[in-house]
């Protein structure tokens, strides 16, 4: 099991969503994908994608406008 980090700081629609999906496709089952970013809507929409893909959302945190979402493949 490995952890994949995706940095989408400063990126806007649809890049955080797309980069998350790219990382999830590359990840193997059991891997954790951690995405950080600043685009506000993506903080809501990445969890929507995680649900749509039937994966597990581990956590969502936000500090000083930077959010961090952890997903289990």
């Amino acid at each position: 099991m490995s952890e994949i980090k995706v940095d989408c700081t400063g990126e806007t629609c649809p890049i955080p969503l797309v980069e998350t999906r790219k990382a999830l496709r590359k990840a193997e089952e059991g891997d954790i994908v951690e995405v950080i970013g600043t685009h506000p809507s993506s903080k809501k929409e990445i969890p929507m994608a995680v649900r749509a893909l039937g994966l597990e959302l581990l956590s969502i945190d936000e500090k000083d406008g930077v959010w961090k979402i952890r997903i289990q493949r």
């Binding site: 990126e11 969503l17 797309v18 929507m48 749509a52 893909l53």
Partner: protein
């Protein structure tokens, strides 16, 4: 109904190509299948070197409006059309080119970016794919 989106990209306007690719990439990111059907003015954008050549659909002002919007987009960190297209392909999206448009506009296969195009087709292929899609758009 399959979890699939089919989009007709009829317009070659820069802002509408952005809309089509952003929606398409969003749908792929949500786990849907996506097919983009490029026809008429949209197909011009698949010519070699043609992706960024489209005008703005409104207030183009001989390119001045497009230049101003382009500058704002770069400032906001909006991805380039080329990146959106590469991401679309990487996430498994399918691009189809309308062969009737090619015929009436005198576009040859070698004029197009064949590396991106999955197939050359006509309306039948669109209808077959659209009837099994939960989302279909005309842009």
């Amino acid at each position: 109904m399959a979890d699939k989106a089919t989009v007709i990209v009829h317009s070659g306007d820069m802002d509408k190509i952005y809309s089509a690719l952003i929606i398409a990439n969003g749908a792929l990111a949500m786990g849907m299948e996506v097919s983009l059907f490029f026809t008429f003015w949209g197909l011009q954008r698949l010519k070699k070197g043609g992706l960024d050549k489209g005008p703005l659909s409104r207030m183009n002002m001989l390119g001045l409006g497009k230049w101003m919007v382009g500058r704002k987009m770069r400032k906001a960190g909006v991805a380039s059309l080329e990146k959106l297209l590469q991401d679309f392909k990487e996430l498994g999206g399918k691009i189809l080119a309308c062969d009737m448009t090619m015929e009436i506009m005198g576009i040859k296969k070698e004029d197009l970016r064949n590396d991106l195009i999955s197939d050359y087709c006509a309306v039948g292929t669109y209808v077959i794919e659209a009837r099994e899609s939960s989302v279909t758009l005309f842009i």
